[in-house]
């Protein structure tokens, strides 16, 4: 069998920085004739101003509305007409744009990304149209749907107090309606500079020709000032904070508990144990909370736990949270769930995690990380985040090894720290029929 039990690492990516500050990461893999292209801008929900909640996401939509050489909707038709797929997404600390294409269309993708980075075209008509589209996005994903925004929109205001950390990244209709073309122009000028972006290409590529192509398309963009990144730090909650949401559409209650964790960009040895704690608590039927809450005590129908409030553990800066979420039957009280959760955290903190349990949890973690990098676009996006936030794209290939080095005591210490710190408890009460 062509396999080995050696730890697997991905080949180190090629890195360079253009004169205008655009960072470029290349990860060749010629096993299939496809490439993934990702451009991340270091601007996310946390940076949008008060009175403009939801603006980073609205702006993401505007990035598909045309640029100097690309008409409205043409960005989509050109990529898809070349056999590719594409999308964009807005996160707490970044906004990303990405496409996967046959490798013969790589140059087209670079052209399109460069054209909108150079010369985004913003019009009143397109802004009004996308305000309506985003409003429908909010209706379909939040307002018209049971459990809409649970817990990613509803938990932050319980766990955090400052506007950047606590506000709703989808925004509200009043803020969206108030957005102007001038706002968008300012936002573009301020945050969408080459030096505030990372370009990654993964897949069927030759590094030298791809760097030359990146130079050709992006190289002449002028360097622009990059805004200093503010700190969003705030003190952790002192004790317990409570939030209540009565969901008129939900047929069953739910609860989400948020804790604070160390700075993700601090020493990884201090942070990764929290990631593994999530796996110990809630990955699969053998996990602690599945056994206790779902199988044994029948307090919950479904449970999940892990680092990250919106997205994962490795695509966010400080502050972020560790979130435990449970859906539960109507006749189970939140207090009963919290008592059981505390008991399981105490058990990890006091008795630790045995070698066999840690080994299986890290094996699963490693396999899941590998699986996520199998697609060229998954690989490109992850490399981009590691470059942008840590300056180390190769960390993507090192995660499994890092997880394997975490001692059980560190996971126990993480559980103890959660127990010792404050937390935010969001209760969702079911107001729906059924």
């Amino acid at each position: 069998m062509p396999t080995s039990s050696q730890p697997v690492t991905l080949p180190d990516p090629v890195r360079t920085t253009l004169a205008n500050g655009l960072r470029v990461v290349l990860a060749p893999d010629r096993s299939a004739p496809v490439v993934g292209v990702a451009v991340h801008y270091d601007i996310g929900i946390r940076s949008e101003p008060e009175g403009r909640a939801g603006f980073a996401h609205l702006f993401e939509h505007l990035m598909f509305q045309g640029s100097a050489n690309v008409a409205k909707t043409q960005h989509f038709t050109l990529i898809q007409g070349a056999g590719g797929t594409l999308n964009g997404s807005t996160h707490l600390d970044y906004t990303d744009y990405y496409e996967a294409l046959p490798s013969g269309a790589l140059e087209l993708a670079l052209y399109l990304e460069a054209d909108r980075m150079r010369s985004l075209r913003l019009t009143e008509e397109n802004l009004a149209n996308q305000v309506e589209v985003v409003s429908e996005e909010i209706r379909v994903n939040v307002e018209n749907r049971p459990y809409g925004g649970f817990p990613w929109i509803l938990l932050p205001p319980v766990l955090f107090t400052t506007f950047p950390n606590a506000h709703n990244g989808y925004g509200d209709f009043a803020d969206l309606q108030a957005a102007t073309v001038a706002d968008a122009e300012d936002f573009f000028a301020r945050y969408y500079a080459p030096g505030n972006a990372v370009l990654t290409v993964a897949g069927d590529l030759d590094p030298d020709t791809t760097i030359a192509a990146a130079e050709r398309h992006f190289g002449e963009l002028p360097a622009r000032d990059v805004p200093p990144r503010p700190s969003f730090a705030e003190p952790p909650p002192d004790g317990e904070r409570h939030g209540l949401r009565v969901d008129p559409l939900a047929p069953r209650p739910a609860v989400a508990v948020g804790y604070r964790v160390p700075d993700p960009l601090g020493p990884l040895a201090d942070y990764v144990p929290y990631v593994l704690l999530g796996e110990v608590l809630a990955d699969g039927d053998a996990s602690r909370l599945e056994q206790r809450l779902v199988q044994r005590d029948r307090l919950a129908t479904d449970v999940s736990a892990g680092v990250g409030i919106m997205g994962g553990a490795f695509d966010v800066r400080d502050p972020t949270g560790f979130v435990v979420e449970a859906r539960h039957p109507a006749d189970v009280g939140v207090d009963d769930l919290l008592v059981a959760l505390d008991a399981e955290l105490d058990r990890v903190a006091t008795d630790g995690v045995e070698a066999a349990e840690l080994a299986r949890v890290t094996a699963r973690f490693a396999a899941r990380e590998l699986r996520a990098t199998d697609s060229v676009i998954g690989r490109a996006r992850s490399l981009t985040i590691f470059e942008q936030q840590r300056g180390r794209p190769e960390l993507l290939g090192e995660l499994a090894g890092l997880a394997r080095e975490v001692p059980g005591d560190a996971v126990a210490a993480a559980a103890a720290a959660l127990r010792a710190g404050g937390r935010g408890i969001l209760e969702l009460r079911a107001g729906g029929a059924g």
Binding site: A189, D225, A363, V376
Partner: protein
């Protein structure tokens, strides 16, 4: 901000020519091997070594709900992994995790599905666990009763989603008494099911004759087949093989069904109708017609009701395949006030493509997208495994991945016009609108005949 380095004149910079797209050759098929075991299990192993994992997909048609009661079959799928004679639910899950593995189960009218992945070096051990489950799932009383209760709660949650409710109404409209009408059981069908029933169902229907196993990943295909025959050779079935899925009767075109959801801020619009099967001669042309209409972002439907009118976020159409019939669905969630105008625009785009040929340039873009998207979706281990697991049980396999792109490239404008008429003519589709009936029914009735649920 620093000043721009380029000198923009009053007329602006000259346009930049679009770079040429190089058309590569169609993707080559990966190395593979296939075999049939004496027990009737078909096995397909495909080498794709990009990451050191292996994907496993098992499809068991005999346990599909077309010929098995929906309640017990659903409970079987939910409790298949809750224990064997040798391992408890927790031991099973822990042993899987140690392989870097995970398994999941589901059931539909066509088949019971078991799927998962593991580190490639542990393929043999993964198959051992799969064999143990297939031959020795014990359905412990406590786990079954616990899961039954949870399943009832999960069904209530699933049915609170507007998309699920609208789909159920649409499938009922299209398929009547045929098993394709129902994807989820009613709560009492689950609460009435017993562990004893589930065990009997497993003994009778979780059998290898007619079943298909697909393995994709960092493996040697011939060695993988050998491993399968060693590990799964002991899985056998007894008794008469069950019947296949009967073809649904054609549904007459019915008035649009308005299902009341008081206070709903959006109307969940769904239209549906029959579509060609993958092996039908007009399939490639129908797939292209669907793409042009609403099957991708660059479609007419998106350009109209999203990018031009702002009625909705994610309008779309799709063709889904069952063993006995394929289904076209058109979907749009629109704010309540524009429900009737949205129906007008959807009907306009349907009518247009059903009656006028698609311009060559628009069709060619859809062709290139269809070929490229297939290549992308089969460029990962998981994507390739799932695609092959959908194809293999209906007699299509890897060759389809080579032939279908050629069919897509060869379909003519005339063939697409014929396919569009059959697939998308609005007179042949049934509509369901889930929303605030008091706010929308009157306006919609001015556009199309309406019936209140």
């Amino acid at each position: 901000m620093s000043a721009p380095a380029r000198t923009d004149t009053a007329t602006g910079p000259p346009p930049r020519p679009l770079p040429a797209v190089t058309q590569g050759p169609l993707a080559r098929l990966p190395p593979s091997a296939q075999d049939g075991l004496a027990t009737g299990l078909s096995v397909l192993a495909v080498r794709r070594p990009a990451v050191p994992l292996v994907e496993v997909r098992l499809r068991v048609p005999a346990a599909g709900t077309a010929s098995v009661p929906l309640g017990p079959a659903t409970l079987l799928a939910e409790t298949l992994l809750t224990g064997t004679a040798r391992r408890s639910q927790v031991e099973l899950a822990a042993d899987l995790q140690a392989l870097g593995g995970a398994l999941g189960t589901s059931v539909d009218a066509d088949r019971l599905s078991i799927g998962g992945s593991a580190l490639a070096e542990h393929l043999g051990e993964l198959l051992d666990l799969v064999a143990e489950i297939l031959t020795g799932a014990s359905y412990p009383e406590r786990e079954v009763t616990g899961e039954r209760t949870r399943l009832a709660d999960r069904l209530a949650v699933a049915r609170s989603q507007p998309g699920r409710r609208a789909r159920e109404a649409l499938l009922g409209r299209l398929y009547g008494a045929h098993p394709y009408a129902r994807e989820l059981p009613e709560v009492d069908e689950v609460t009435d099911a017993t562990a004893e029933q589930v065990r009997a169902l497993h003994a009778d229907r979780v059998r290898p004759d007619g079943a298909v196993l697909v393995l994709v990943g960092d493996l040697d295909p011939d060695a993988a087949l050998q491993t399968v025959s060693e590990r799964l050779g002991g899985w056998a079935g007894t008794g008469v093989a069950p019947p296949g899925v009967p073809a649904p009767l054609p549904s007459p075109a019915l008035p649009a069904l308005v299902v009341d959801r008081p206070g709903s801020v959006q109307t969940t619009i769904r239209l549906g109708g029959p579509a060609p099967q993958r092996w039908d001669p007009g399939y490639a042309a129908a797939k292209l017609a669907n793409l042009v209409f609403g099957g991708y972002f660059s479609s007419r439907l998106v350009a109209n009701i999203r990018e031009r009118r702002g009625y909705t976020y994610s309008p779309r159409s799709a063709i889904d395949h069952g063993a006995a019939a394929s289904l076209l669905t058109v979907a749009a969630d629109v704010r309540t006030e524009v429900t009737a105008p949205a129906m007008v625009e959807i009907g306009y785009e349907l009518g247009l493509i059903a009656t006028l040929p698609v311009p060559a340039e628009e069709l060619d873009a859809a062709r290139r997208y269809a070929v490229g998207a297939l290549a992308l979706s089969t460029a990962t281990q998981a994507g390739l495994a799932s695609t092959l697991a959908a194809l293999a049980p209906v007699g299509l396999g890897l060759p389809f991945l080579a032939e279908h792109p050629r069919d897509l490239l060869a379909a003519t404008i005339e063939e697409v016009a014929v396919a569009a008429r059959g697939l998308l003519a609005p007179a042949g589709l049934s509509a369901v609108l889930l929303g605030d009936a008091s706010a929308v029914a009157g306006d919609v009735a001015a556009v199309t005949p309406v019936e209140l649920a």
